[in-house]
Amino acid sequence: MKLAWMHPDCLSADWLPPGSRAFFVFDDDYLAACGWGLKRIMFVYETLLELPVEIYRGSTVQLLAELAADEGVVTVDTPDPWLLARIAELRERVAVDVIPPPVFVELKGHVNLQRFSRYWSKAEAKLLD
């Protein structure tokens, strides 16, 4: 049974593989890096209370690697450099599947992100269709 790593960018049961065991880790290093205070922790915690997930405190990689053993980890992709660095470290110890988050708009080829207007000129027709 795979271990599902629910990180702060994917607090939903929608992506959990059937039968997986889900974990969330409050990592002091992340909390300090993001500057989270009590308001945010409470918001996230309340969200987790509604979800089929076990909540831990500790060092993300160490904890997940121990819990996953040979089964491997599945999680959701994110642009967050702190989370991406943990995914890379985890990969050195166990197999990690990273699934894409739901797509808002599919843009093919090179997308010029220099200004919102450039992005919008490509995205608008698809989004307002």
Binding site: G37, L38, M42, F43, E50, L63, P81, Y119
Partner: protein, 267 residues
């Protein structure tokens, strides 16, 4: 290692447990917000939201905005699912084009985050204010964080940010412009402050919006005047403001430009 507790009889009991578990976070911010976490609350807000009224009213502090940002920020709802639901309510995507374009801002910032990573903390371009980064203070003045500037509007926004973890988009723009342009503080100091308190605090949406206000990721600095703030807040702040007669926002845009920047032409 034992998992953390999941059964609580009340919010107060949860808060007490978290205070004990996360002392370092309490030091950064000891408050709890009246905003509830969770999917059920997100669904309630989505059901109440009237996307057809968004375009005409969204700039007003009392306007019809969704209040979904913390839920979207944490993946409780995807942008796609919010869009699908709003289109179903309004009948077509065209009918809620403005709302969809605002959802798209988040998608846009997330794409830049993937490209730039921690580079979102650097000035992406130079300030178009005539000042250089070195002319701006590196730290947030304590009176802003403490809600003690003497300006009724800014003090209210500061306290609301701390006590609720949410500010209307226009209030964020006004407060950010005040910090960067009136107080001449580096946008990074304001961005760090927002990220401690906002429930929707997202490094990409937050920092790049601050850079847009500052002009380090836009063609010109964003400024506002008293007339603009009064219009979109129904004049609720000025009557009780101690600085009524010396309002720093009471000016035409050309005058503000001349006063705040070393070049003309900002609006």
């Amino acid at each position: 290692m034992k998992p953390l507790k999941k059964q609580f009889s009340s919010r107060a009991e949860l808060a007490a447990y978290l205070q004990q578990q996360f002392p370092a976070a309490v030091e950064r911010d000891p408050d709890m917000s009246p905003w509830l976490g969770g999917l059920a609350e997100a669904q309630r807000r989505l059901a109440e939201f009237k996307p057809q009224r968004y375009a005409a009213t969204r700039n007003h502090l009392d306007g019809q905005v969704s209040g979904l940002s913390p839920y979207i920020r944490h993946g409780i709802f995807s942008l796609a699912s919010v869009k699908t639901r709003a289109v179903a309510v309004a009948g077509s995507a065209q009918a809620i084009a403005k709302f969809i374009s605002e959802l798209a801002w988040r998608d846009y910032w997330q794409r830049l985050y993937l490209q730039w990573g921690a580079g979102i903390w650097q000035d992406r371009e130079e300030y178009k204010t005539g000042w250089t980064t070195a002319d701006y203070a590196a730290e947030l003045p304590a009176d802003i964080d403490g809600g003690r500037t003497g300006l009724a509007c800014m003090d209210r926004f500061s306290r609301e940010l701390r006590s609720t973890g949410y500010l209307h988009n226009h209030a964020r723009m006004w407060l950010a412009a005040y910090v960067v342009h009136w107080r001449r503080v580096q946008w990074q100091a304001g961005a760090r402050w927002f990220l401690v308190h906002l429930l929707d605090g997202d490094p990409a949406s937050n920092n790049l919006s601050w850079q847009w206000v500052a002009s380090t990721f836009s063609h010109k600095p964003y400024v506002f005047n008293r007339e603009n703030l009064e219009k979109y807040s129904s004049g609720r702040f000025c009557p009780d403001c101690g600085a009524k007669t010396e309002c720093p926002f009471e000016a035409t845009y050309p005058d503000l430009s001349a006063r705040l920047f070393q070049i003309g032409g900002a609006a």
